[in-house]
Amino acid sequence: MPEIRYYEAVSQALAEEMTRDPRVFVLGEDVGLVGGTFRATEGLMAEFGARRVRDTPIAEAGIIGVAMGAAMTGLRPVAELMTLNFGIVAMDQIINHVSKARYMFGGQVNLPMVIRAAAGGGTQKGAQHSHSIESWFVNAPGIRVVLPSTPYDLKGLLKTAIRCEDPVLFIEHEMLYNTKGEVPDGEYLLPFGVADIKRPGRDVTIVAWSKMVHEALRAAELLAIEGIEAEVIDPRTLDPLDLDTILRSVLRTRRAVVVEEGWRTVGVGAEIASQIHEALFYELEAPVQRVGAADVPTPYASNLEKLALPDAQRIVDAVLKITL
């Protein structure tokens, strides 16, 4: 299988879906002429023209509202927020409009739209540009939340998102754009709500998504040296969440650690840990551990940022707490 980069998986998925379905179009800041701040829409304007690859003003609330109006009237927009940090400006349009419309209108209308956004920290972008806030969108019902960790997952999930009749928030990690991975030549789709076991193991279950999957895999290698075999589960979509796969794994390992890059307090990890405790309280050998970012705005200084964000070592420590 050919190896491609994470950002290339985005443009491949977009190009394939735009070719297949004339209703699909892309809009956002610098998605056209520039080809995307992270090169994710490179070449699309040349191939599909400025109408279907539309550069917009810097007006995120407007961008999301426009996408919603288009989705309600026959098109299938893919709106790019450049980064999720800027999606906070559009929070009202996403949560109070896009996520609620179908339900509050009694199911009369579908909103087949995708909101793509880069997220995450780790490269000293500072307090305002390092958010991992998937927890807010998982909290609010009405929008699917997808966080691919590899080029393969990204392409298959993005194509599914574009064909999905419901709104999807598709969160890409800024530090993964240049990572490479094998992707089959032919077309393929990956389902929502199906977790992927990125590494099998019998001693402890590590649940992680997006960039943290790679930290978890690194941690698993370190643990293997200690003779601890960790199973790494990547839910890939947090809404819907494949709880079954997680619970089946924990039922075997009887120990679990949930890892996220976002703030630990009221993170998605708290939800998954609670679900595990509720379902398997009497089977667990120890309480589920949570690893997440320090509860402070992300500091700029490289040494402080490293302390703020979770990494393989922090995951190892959490695992050792419940395995020794």
């Binding site: 007006a59 961008i63 509202g65 109006g69 009749e165 389902p191």
Partner: protein, 324 residues
Amino acid sequence: MTIAAADQITMYRNMVLIRRFEEGVAEAYADGFIGGFTHLYIGQEAVATGSITALNHDDYAIGTYRVHAHALVRGSSARSLMAELYGRSTGVCKGKGGSMHFFDLQNYFLGGYGIVGGNLPIGVGAALSMQMQNRDAVVMNFFGDGASNQGVFHEALNMAKLWNLPVIFVCENNFYGIGTDVRTSSAFNEIHKKAQGYGIPGHVVNGMDVVAVREKCEELVRYARQGGGPVLLEARCYRYQGHSMTDAGKYRSVAEAELWKKRDPIPRLAKSMLESGIVDAVRIEAIQAEANEIVTDAMSFAEASPRPAPEALYEDLYVEDARA
């Protein structure tokens, strides 16, 4: 007078029906059949009537939380709307939306939204959708004087003009945002002039004169449909009731209200139609009786309708097959 006799009669029918409908709503609210925030349209009938009747059936309209009238003029049945207000499964949104969230796709009504200004970019998106699909439909995008100070107003107008979209922005300037006078909320309170800042033509019309509104809107709809791009119309009007059922409206003087009531659009049109011999007194009475019947029937229909089944709680959130 360029509006055909038949059209004038239709508009009169609509205005009388709106007035009766809202009176019925007030009654039902007092009797506890209707809950939540309920915003009446009494006094502003000429705006929704004169503007929406200038649209083709497959043009879109989208509005705020004060949209009982707009849905009626679009063609939603009084039964389906009243049942919605009663929170019944026979409601236009199955009882899930309520007063602020009417929506009727069959009648090309893209809904009522409760967040001030929130509908504006959505309407622009629908217009973009018409343009991209080469449909010659236009979008009528309603908002209030207070909404013109929200950020999304700025973003929506800019995008509509940038992309030369077929949107008619209709500002229902009733001079108050709840209790805040337009002079207290807008530095530049001649709202039609705000359009200039975007290179959009701004017009103003007497919103208490349905024929004037209709004539102006036919002109603007033609302009937008022919590719002229967005236009903005400020219709000056007055709401007789408080902002919502729970607002006594003490912030407005009795004298001011009396002055506006003298300009009531319903007797005004009746008088002119009688004078020009379009109708006689008998016909006028018949129309009022007809409206009474429609509303009385709608209220008993609503009261007799079943409440949503408990299973409805989890229905309509996502399109089923979205789960993989």
